[in-house]
Symmetry: C2
Subunit: 384 residues, 2 copies
């Protein structure tokens, strides 16, 4: 049946693009060493503060989110420092690799895939002292769980020489985050997530405590020099050539997000995530996240006896729907539906309607319409 | 529950735009009196012949479809001529108004709204002779019915001095049409329909018989002079300034349609229309079309005791879905979902998922998911 099939992106980054932001970038003629750019950059940084829910300065790099993660390590630490890392999946493991790359000793508290980081265990480690920084994800998008940033942050706050670094690349815009209240010293974000624009920008907020730690840090760094970038951006400039079209895009997208409201953006992802989980159950599937589920992405276990890879492939070839399979050792065991940014309820209805047919086609019995109905009931509960 | 709501257009024109065609127009720098434009125009006209399924010449006007309809009247007829008109709705009535505007006497065969034109009755009128032209719609989008163009065309073919004019503005790309086999002398189309581009262009194919009739016709005309335009376009030029960005758009969209295949474009609309009709029944609603239903648009009766206007309003405000209410005296009695052009199956799943919630909200009891399920079953039947 060769008919019209539109591509629909349901991956946890890149995410669907906000066309009005794309169009702004399309017509731009900005040079970056001008007053016009500096004014736009300052507005963008102010709006990022709104988006991050913080009063702290925010810096922007032309890089993927990993670049800002690397910067958090290289700007806060010195040779011989020890750090504490909480990991619940592939992105937590990145903190471990980064520490290793810089020769930093780390104590790792690991959750089995699907569970959240046992923050209580991390707090016990903190009591023994001697950590210069603590690293964690707000939401672990490889497994679809959310970590307890608040509780861990409050514990780290009490330690004068220890900074708290949170990778909120998929957490921002999908989860209520209060970095200032919770003592988050560096909060990291990326452009290709809930900000609805293409990949290429990384963001990091810097607390006063982090600023002081950076002054003492002796690890080597150049491009990802947080202090240098903070100083440049205070004048509306970046140290090196900024990705101007992405900055223009971001400026437009943050205006949209301000108009929509940060809380509404988060509530939108929350509704879609809850509806996806209930749809999965209605379709006889298990949710992969046994810990607190993230709103950013819903991870659903493969149907019994069927590889999730088959589901992902059929959704792509039949319906143009791009889901993600499990990463690493989780490949074949689960698939993921993202809710990051520019999705509405009908986007979810469409993907669930497709999923029901795909499940039948790969050999998993479902009642057609039952996943959609479960999602509709969640919608009705929220709109009542 | 203020969240993200994307606008989704389900009206029988304008229709969803093919972005790759829009982007081509966005970057164009064409002047219309150049070889480059003439080459592009010739290719476009060739591709229009493929789209129309005809060997006849096709002309293009910068106008709405109504302009080409007016031209069919003013180019074929002379004062004192009589015509036969088959009408099944608002667009059939336009033929009657056009004849009247030019002082042409018309015999009108009228079907009640929701039924197709009784072509047998028209054929009987033809036996009495004296008609210079016969006018009908391929599909009447105000009611969602399809007329029997083939049977009527074959009857008119036998008459040497009578031309057969078909408004296929919503029929093209949604219905199997064989204008050359069926003796259609003028077939009319418009850009904002299954060609997936914005409004602003009208098309008309001209048979040899129509060409001969035009030579004898004495009604006044200037802008919509078919013969003049045909002569200009043979050189790749238009008589007056062409809507260049729309021509570039059309060129790109027709390339997409050729790649997809005309038959597949039609089959796509057929699947969506059939799925919509079965979904309506599953939701306890009646299909408005009692005659042969059109693939271009599905007209669904309002829920018992509830004005369709309420359904249309709730779909717009709650979900951003733009449906059309009934036109004229049908307002409040039905609503319409279009399948013209750039829609895929998941677009329909989304609109049905929305409709189920809206029906509940306006007070019509439905089993959630049951309309989606009916559509999924149609999909499975077609894909088996």
């Amino acid at each position: 049946m060769p008919g019209i099939v539109k591509e629909r992106l349901f991956t946890p980054g890149p995410t669907p693009l906000l066309m009005e932001a794309q169009l702004r970038a399309l017509t731009m003629t900005l040079h970056h060493r001008t007053d016009a750019f500096r004014a736009l950059m300052r507005e963008t940084l102010d709006n990022l503060k709104y988006y991050f829910n913080t009063k702290n300065d925010i810096i922007v790099f032309a890089s993927s989110g990993t670049g800002a993660m690397e910067g958090a390590v290289s700007n806060l630490l010195s040779p011989g420092d020890r750090v504490l890392i909480g990991t619940a999946g592939k992105f937590g493991e990145r903190w471990v690799q980064l520490a290793k790359a810089y020769g930093i000793e780390s104590v790792v508290v690991e959750a089995p895939y699907g569970q959240e980081v046992p923050v209580g265990e991390m707090k016990k480690h903190l009591e023994s002292g001697g950590f210069r920084a603590v690293f964690i994800q707000a939401t672990e998008s490889s497994t679809g769980v959310r970590n307890d940033v608040e509780s861990l942050g409050k514990a780290v706050s009490a330690l004068p020489d220890c900074c708290f670094v949170v990778d909120a690349i998929t957490g921002l815009g999908t989860t209520d985050l209060r970095p200032d209240e919770w003592g988050v010293d560096i909060l990291i974000g990326g452009s290709q997530k809930a900000t609805m624009i293409p990949p290429g920008l990384a963001f990091a907020s810097i607390s006063d405590k982090a600023g002081r730690a950076m002054e003492k840090s002796k690890l080597p760094r150049y491009y990802f020099d947080y202090a240098k970038e903070r100083k440049s951006l205070a004048k509306g400039e970046s140290s090196y050539t900024p990705a101007t079209s992405l900055i223009v895009c971001l400026h437009a997208a943050l205006n949209y997000i301000k108009e929509l409201g940060r809380e509404n953006l988060i509530a939108n992802a929350e509704l879609l995530a809850e509806a996806s989980r209930e749809a999965a159950v209605a379709l006889g599937l298990k949710n992969f996240a046994v810990g607190t589920p993230a709103n950013a992405v819903t991870s659903i276990c493969a149907p019994p006896g069927i590889e999730s890879t088959k589901v992902v492939k059929d959704m792509k070839s039949r319906f143009g729907v791009i889901l993600t399979d499990g990463q690493g050792s989780m490949k074949g065991q689960m698939f993921r539906i993202a809710h990051l940014g520019y999705y509405d309820f009908l986007d979810l209805v469409a993907v669930l309607g497709a999923l029901e047919i795909t499940l039948l086609k790969v050999g998993h019995k479902v009642e057609l319409g039952s996943g959609v109905r479960a999602a509709q009931n969640v919608y009705l509960r929220h709109s009542a």
